[in-house]
């Protein structure tokens, strides 16, 4: 039964020692330790939050970039399309203008040829008439010498004329 009766001396020592221990530990150990742990937990939480925010920011930027890329691609397609249309129209225009120009040139050339032909014909006609007059003069001169030959010549001339 002695075990169940507290000794006064130990009660006093225990009270003093425990309260002193509690005072010293809370001042020099628990306060700084708990504060440090709390601070560290806070900083870990902050870091995690920041990482989360950075992740979101990153995702936002990525999606923005994608959007921009899409826009740029669309714009490029648009520009290419426009360029193609423009090119086609230019080519067509050039073709038509070339055709008309060609046609005009051909027409001009034809007219020129016609004119040249006409001029040549006119010149030929003149030369023919001069030549005919020459011939006729010579024939007439020789005819004047021989009657029978004159007649032959006239006949042959006439014959030629008819053939001509």
């Amino acid at each position: 039964m002695d075990l169940l009766i507290p000794e006064v001396g130990l009660v006093v020592f225990q009270t003093i020692a425990f309260l002193l221990l509690m005072f010293l530990l809370s001042k020099f150990a628990w306060k700084p330790v708990l504060a440090a742990i709390k601070e560290r937990e806070q900083s870990i939480d902050d870091a995690l939050n920041k990482a989360e925010l950075a992740k979101q920011e990153m995702a936002r930027l990525t999606s923005q970039n994608e959007e921009l890329m899409k826009q740029a691609r669309a714009e490029r397609d648009e520009i290419l399309k426009e360029a193609k249309v423009l090119k086609d129209s230019i080519v067509n225009e050039a073709k038509t203008s070339a055709q008309t120009e060609g046609a005009k040139l051909i027409e001009k050339a034809r007219i020129e040829i016609e004119n040249q032909k006409k001029a040549a014909l006119a010149e030929l006609k003149g030369q023919v008439s001069t030549l005919s007059l020459d011939i006729a003069e010579r024939v007439l001169r020789s005819q004047l010498d021989d009657k029978a030959k004159q007649q032959d010549l006239v006949a042959s001339l006439l014959k030629d004329v008819e053939l001509n």
Partner: protein
């Protein structure tokens, strides 16, 4: 209040109950065996051998009780200082002045007063010795009837108390310095040993029971937890720096329980006191009936705390001692083949109990304080 988390430890409690049960079983077995062997020896060899008989009960109780000397090894003891307040004066001397007497046969005269020591307790010596040569008067149960001086001696328990205070201060101030040195960095060394336990006390003991007010009670909860745990483990060390049964001493557990009680009483809010003196939500006769019950409840809680720690640690020590003593009870070396492994096994369980009891004391303290400071909505 949600108390479910307290019952999560049913399994551990079961082990504790089992340990207690086996402790008492083993002690009674041991005592029976001792009686049997005593009978056998007296029958065969007569009275001469009776002196040799091994008294396991006395042996175990002597070992778990406080002492004025500290056993080193073999027959070597360190005498501890004795400080007494007797008849208005302070008397100091050393325990070695008693020359290992523990039966009130050696009288020490100091400051004009005479003292004897019997069963590790100091008495004012009688003028003349009785028929056994003891300077005390004994009653029919062999307890001395002499007056006792106020004993403020540095006993084995008092020295262990100082040792543990120094140990706790050294350990936790160095842990705190670790936080200063590695500010904001991960813990290292002793710091990383202690940090999970500090967090355990904070997150699993204080926060669930005390809610957002936990910070105010953290110093007490942490101190009481580590004080009990360290001393439980020191008590398991069988040689010099350990060997004392501090947390198995009723004076120590009483002081701890009283501190919990005082914290509970002084922090109780008006809801708490209303629940005790005028329980809301029940008819008036019931309120009157409940008042004394609740009033008793204020005191039974810390008393249970006191008894629980004392009984668990004492039982553990008795159990280990009894198992070892079986060798001497049966006076055969072959018994050690069974009792030593068993003692080691129980030692392992005791190591667990050392932690569990510190935990239970702390969580119940937190629970009681939590009930007192809880806000009702």
């Amino acid at each position: 209040m949600d108390c479910s988390h307290v019952f999560e430890f049913k399994f551990k409690r079961l082990i504790v109950v089992f340990t207690l049960f086996s402790a008492f079983l083993m002690v009674s077995l041991g005592v029976n065996a001792q009686v049997d062997t005593a009978h056998a020896t007296t029958e065969t060899h007569g009275e001469t051998t009776e002196k040799k008989k091994f008294e396991i009960g006395k042996f175990a109780l002597h070992h778990i009780a406080d002492s004025h000397s500290w056993h080193v090894i073999g027959e070597t003891y360190i005498g501890l200082p004795i400080i007494l307040f007797a008849n208005g004066s302070v008397v100091t001397f050393n325990d070695s002045d008693f020359h290992h007497d523990n039966d009130a046969k050696v009288v020490v005269e100091k400051g004009g007063q005479r003292f004897v020591k019997m069963h590790e307790k100091i008495y004012l010596a009688s003028a003349v010795a009785n028929e056994h040569g003891q300077y005390v008067e004994l009653d029919e149960k062999h307890h001395p009837k002499n007056a006792r001086p106020l004993d403020f001696s540095l006993t084995k328990n008092a020295c262990t108390l100082l040792l543990s205070v120094v140990l706790l201060l050294v350990v936790f101030i160095s842990v705190a310095n670790g936080y200063k040195k590695r500010h904001g960095k991960s813990p290292k060394g002793l710091q990383s040993w202690m940090e999970p336990i500090i967090l355990f006390v904070r997150d699993d003991i204080a926060k669930p029971n005390l809610g957002h007010k936990y910070e105010r009670f953290m110093p007490y909860l942490l101190t009481v937890f580590f004080f009990i745990w360290f001393n439980n483990m020191l008590g398991l060390v069988p040689f010099l720096p350990g060997g004392a049964n501090l947390t198995g001493n009723i004076a120590v557990t009483m002081v701890l329980a009283v501190i919990t009680f005082l914290i509970t009483v002084f922090n109780g809010n008006k809801h708490y006191w209303k629940h005790i003196f005028w329980m809301p939500g029940v008819p008036v006769p019931m309120k009157i009936f409940l008042m004394p019950l609740e009033l008793i409840g204020i005191f039974t809680k810390p008393i249970a705390l006191m008894i629980r720690l004392f009984a668990n640690i004492t039982a553990g020590h008795i159990l280990v001692l009894s198992l070892i003593c079986l060798i001497f009870v049966f006076n055969s070396i072959w018994v050690s083949a069974a009792s030593i492994p068993f003692a080691i096994f129980i030692g392992g369980i005791e190591l667990m109990v050392a932690f569990i009891q510190a935990f239970i004391f702390t969580i119940l303290s937190a629970l009681f304080i939590g009930m007192a400071v809880e806000e009702h909505h």
